[in-house]
Structures are given as C-alpha cells and as structure tokens.
Subunit: 393 residues, 2 copies
C-alpha cells in the first residue's frame, strides 16, 4: 500500500424529504447570501427549486439564481456566474442538480477569488482559495457531491478539462434518493455507468497488497450489479435508488481508492467523445471502458479474473484464466447493454472517421499516459477502434 | 434504508514515517500549545514520542505532556488532564497511542470547556464544546482515530460508559502501520477482534434493503479474515498491517453503517467484563460476540447465512439454512481461537459466578435493550452463560 492522505469533510444529509432542511445547513456552514445554481427545467418542474427557496427564506438567507447549466458544463456560464457572484457579493454557492451543475458551481467558487481567467485553474494551475460550495443532488452519478473535483468544457474548441483540490469538497450535500425517481431510465443508467467507472478506474492498479480497497471497490460494484437493473425495471424503487446513491458517493470520495495507483485513462479517452459529440459522459464510458479492458487485460490477467469472479459471479477457469478474464469483460458489456447503454460508436452516435481527431485532442503526442497500462497514441487509437466495433456477446 | 447524516471530517495522514509530520498538521489545524497525552512505556521505548516532540519543536509548537493512560482509561487521569490543560492554557490535545489514549484525550477535550463534572458527559448529557483533538495512532483497533466516540471507566465503582458527538472527531490522525509492528501478537489480535466487532454491530440489523452497507461491511470482514492470520504469523508484514489499519478506520467511522439500525449489545455486554476484570476489550468481545450470535441467530437465519457464505466462505445448505448459519458462527469462533483469542470465561479469566453481578451492572432491570434482538436481563444472563461455557468446534 502506498502512503496517502484521506480527507472527506462533507456532511452528507441523506434521505427522503431532506431538501427542506437546506436552509438550516447553509446557516450552519456560514452562508448568508447564496447563489442557487441549477440546470434546465427539471429542478423547476419537480418543485425542488421551490422547496429549496422556501427553506432558504425560512432560515432568513438571501439568494440569487443562475440556471441554464448544460450537461458537459461550459466555461461561458462559469464566467457569467463569477461576474454575478462578485457583483452581488454572494458568499456561498449552492448547486441544485447533478454532476454538471455541481462542477459548474465549483468552477465559480474557485473563479471568484482568483485574480485572472478561471480557465487557468483547469489548465494546470492549482486553486488556492474558494467560496464554500454545497449541493442538493438530483442524480447518482458523478460523485461530485463528495469529491474535490470538477470538469468543465471550453465552448470554444470543445476542450474538456478537470481540476482537483480539497477546497472543492462541498460543505454539505443533501441527497434524497426520491429526487432521482423522475429521471429517465437512460439518464439513470448513464449515472450508474459513471459510478461503476469511478470504481474501475481505482480497481485496476499495479499496487500490490491492497485487499481492503479491492474489497471495498468490489462492494460498490456488486451493489450496482444488483441494484441498477432493479431501478431500470422499476424507476420508483426508492430502496434500490438509495443504495445506488450512497454507492455513488462512496465510489468517488476516494475511500475505496486510497493507497493505490489509479488509472483514469478511460475517463480521459471518454472526455474526448463527450466533448466532441456532447453525448452523456456515462454513455461514452459504456462504450470506452470495456474496450479499454479488452486492450489491457493481458497486463494482469489475474486482476481481471478477480473482477470476473467476485463482481460478475463468473466461474474461475483454472486451466485457462484468460477465458475467465474475458468472460468478466463480456459480462460487464452485457450488463451495460441490458441497462440500455450504448456499447459501440454507432449506438453512441460517434463516427469512427473521427478517431484520428479524437486521438489528436487527447493530446499525448509521442508520450504516454500514466496508470495501469501506460498508453501511447497508437494504443488510444486501438482502444477507440475496439470501442467503435464492439458487439454484445 | 433509513435517513441519515454522515460526517467524517478527520484528515487521515496514512503511511510509513508520517509521524514526523505531526507538527505541521497541528499547525494546519490551529494548535499553538499542545498536550501530548500518552500511555505506558511503548511510545517512549519505540522512540515515537521523541519523533513527535521533535516534529512539534520544528513547527515551533509548545507542548506539555501527560502519560500514564491505562487500558480501559480511567476518569481519575481525565480529571488530572483537565486541570493541567486549564492551568497551562493548552489549546490542542494530541493523543499518541491507541484507543484508550485517544478516548482519554477526547474526555479531556470535552471536559475542559464544561462547567461541571466531566462525568456528566458520560452519563447522558450531550457535550456542547470541545478543544480540538488529534491522534498519532499506535494500534489498529478501536477506530477512535476517526470516530466521534469515547469510552471511559470510572475507577470508583468500575463503571464503563461512553459518549458520542461529532465534536470528538479528531482533526487529523497520523496512521503509520509500521508503528504497530512491535505490538505483541495478543494485542494485535485483540485490536483485530474489536475491528470485526465494530462491523458486526452494524451488520446485524432489522433494516431491509441496505445492500451497499452490507457489502461494505463484508468487504472489511473479508479483509480481516485474510490479513489478520498473516500478521499473527509474521508481525513485520507491513502490507497486512496497513490493510488492517485502514480497515479499522473504515469499520468505525460509520461509512459502512449509515442508514441502518445497529445493534451494539455485544459491546455493552462486553464492557461489563472489561470493567470488572480489566481485561482487554477485544478479548472480551471474542468471548461475547459468538455467544451473542448463537443466542440470536434464529431471529434472522438468512442474515447469518449471508455472513457465513460471504465472509467465511461456507457453502450454503439450501436444505438446512440453519446449519449454514451455525457453521458461520463456528467459523468465526474458530478464527478467533486461531489468532490467539480467548473464547470462554476460563480463557479470559472470568468467573461464571459473577454473571448475576455482571447482569446487574449492565443495568437494564425489567426493561429491554434496543438493537437487532431486544434483550432482557434474562437474555443477557443466557448470553453470559453461553460465553462462559463455549468451546471451539
């Protein structure tokens, strides 16, 4: 196990009806004038925004609003948010929505006190100050409600880049699984895929002797394998929704990933897809991640056998471990297909002709990535090709 | 799943050699004058105390010292600590040791700002203020390095009572698995038993549909089943020590226990043993917990089958589930025996004649406990009797 620091100070306020307590938590964490940041119409239509407003008013907290966050949230709205917060002397950012809204809120929170273009902070410069952020979560997916990460897309040039700092960890996150019951099945499945991908990015590691985090990763994955098909079949299943929602936070606050080298190449490779096609991140991951697995599994067949047997319940073939490894990857792709995810370029709406452009944007040139298997541009090309042509066996 | 709040703001500073960074973390968390609180000779002999002192000096932090914490830490030393901290205007309590030292440090931390006898706060009154506490952990066991709990023994009357509040969560905890390598095998095993008990107290629940926390509980337990025999066989196995140490924190910071009714009767029943005989808490749990399981398993045979199959690798007997449940309990007791734990009163040094007195001290009178199975005084008597006579099958 490698040395590490783990710090997850967010207070999670979990369960049915808890959005009505938002105001009291803003007060507890020192907010006096709040920016409510949200996306499109669903938070309005569902009445959630009204609940949050009423709760803030009840606690005597002033607020302004900025809606319109899109999936793959844009730098353009972040600039607007920074301006508004500065002009109105707002001291607390409240994201009401999913990962995109939260990531946009985080960008505003570090952008406001930064003396320069906030995009610097997504181009390698480390954020040093931030306004407090909190969330009212509406989809189990990105894990952004507990993480110190944020990903923003630059409108001009379709660049998707991330930043990370403990400063970005939300003060509190309201998590009501019932709020996710109205989501379309496709979005639910995209979120679930993202959650599983967050675990796999940590699971595939060259660090030895990390049984505790291996087992914790597998715990989250086994939960998803059981619960996701249940919510796809029955969107109103609160209990399955609740299990998925807590799994989503545990998957990405890093409690299951400490002390081990992590991968994250699939996320990087996917980001180019969602930047170019504006597809859902989870859908892109469903296409990329099994393809990445097929490309790298020979690097550590036993690790893939462990996944196959412990997560997907495959029988271990001791005469031919490789067949078990491949059975696990097939089971994962089949699972994704069964919950309604695309599994190749055609189903995603991507064009194999764009592969050279995708690899170019990925931007490693003659170098290699880090992670489980260090990938060259040729390797990334190959992974896109496998993904383009994948079928469900 | 039940509604819950989860809040674990401690920064964990994990890995080899990290105690040398203690001073910089005290500074980060605002300490300027520190009480170093410790136990007997091992922190001195190992040189750890010198490392901590040097680190504080390097960061320009003043300190005073109070050693002498005993296992099952006493109220008497807490009173001394409170007096010293007040007299010296100390603003930060640093526990260097295991659960007993940390619990004693937490008692001082809430006792100092409390206007009255600190024992009130262990007799039902809720703490409202606390000095900041941090830890340098020397044994994987109590989980006190991440928890908001503290248990203190009243010297006069041998009462063992606990308190809990988020105020007691340490600001940071330095966790170097190498520091645990010098522990005697018996203490290592006691700590491991305590960790497993913390999970079982959460695992046995009447709350339905808690797959994520079930799986997380099982992840910790499976890790212990693999790693503990390895460190008993080879005390210098850093990797196994590291896995156990992180498992110990995860087991008790409640990430694996949220959203579900918990039990904690075995802890209560054990506390009377360690209060009366001054035995190690883990050793008492090794005697009590399997006995408790034998007494309650019929309440939910399938839950015990789940433990038997997922944690101890028992084959499910679909014709006779009860036999699988019992096989799981036998496997647990066998595991405890094999790592050197006592499994009955004789091995613990307890006397069956004391059972009426133990039950009397447990203090439920004509009432019942809460938890998985609500126990009467007669039930608790029966559990002590099973524990007294247990054998390893």
């Amino acid at each position: 196990m490698e040395n590490f620091n783990f710090y997850s100070p967010t207070e999670f306020v979990f369960g049915k009806g808890r959005a009505a307590e938002t105001g009291s938590y803003v007060k507890k964490y020192g907010g006096s004038k709040v920016l409510i940041h949200f996306g499109g119409g669903s938070a309005v239509r569902s009445g959630l925004l009204d609940t949050v407003r009423a709760s803030l008013e009840e606690s005597g907290i002033e607020y302004r609003e900025l809606g319109g966050v899109q999936p793959n949230p844009r730098d353009t709205l972040v600039y607007k948010g920074i301006e508004l917060v500065r002009a109105e002397k707002i001291d607390f950012i409240l994201a009401v929505g999913g990962g995109s809204v939260i990531d946009s809120a985080k960008a505003i929170a570090i952008g406001v006190p930064y003396d320069g273009d906030f995009w610097d902070l997504y181009s390698g410069k480390h954020p040093e100050k931030a306004l407090p952020v909190a969330t009212v979560l509406t989809i189990a997916a990105a894990g952004s409600e507990g993480s110190g990460n944020s990903v923003i897309t630059k409108e001009d040039g379709k660049l998707k880049r991330g930043t990370g700092s403990d400063l970005l960890r939300p003060r509190f996150s309201v998590m009501d699984p019932a709020l996710t019951q109205s989501l379309p099945a496709y979005q639910t499945a995209c979120g679930a895929t993202d959650i599983m991908a967050h675990v796999f990015e940590r699971y595939f590691t060259n660090t030895r002797e990390v049984e505790i985090t291996d087992r914790l990763c597998e715990a989250v994955l086994c939960t998803m394998v059981r619960e996701v098909p249940r919510v796809i079949a029955d969107p109103d299943n609160y209990e399955a929704r609740a299990n998925i929602m807590w799994a989503g936070t545990v998957a990405h606050n890093n409690v299951v990933g400490v002390g081990r080298e992590q991968d994250w190449n699939s996320h990087g490779i996917e980001h180019e897809l969602s930047a170019l096609y504006d597809c859902a991140h989870g859908a892109g991951l469903a296409v990329i991640m099994p393809a990445w697995m097929e490309f790298v599994y020979k690097h550590d067949v036993m690790r893939f056998c462990q996944m196959a047997t412990r997560v997907f319940g495959c029988a271990m073939n001791f005469d031919d471990p490789e067949s078990t490894a491949l059975a696990g990857i097939r089971a994962f792709r089949r699972f994704l297909h069964d919950i309604g995810m695309p599994i190749n370029f055609a189903e995603l709406g991507a064009d194999p002709k764009d592969i050279p452009a995708l690899v170019e944007k990925f931007g490693i040139g003659d170098g290699r990535t880090g992670g489980f298997v260090k990938l060259s541009a040729a390797d990334v090309t190959e992974i896109y090709k496998i993904a383009a042509a994948a079928v469900c066996e």
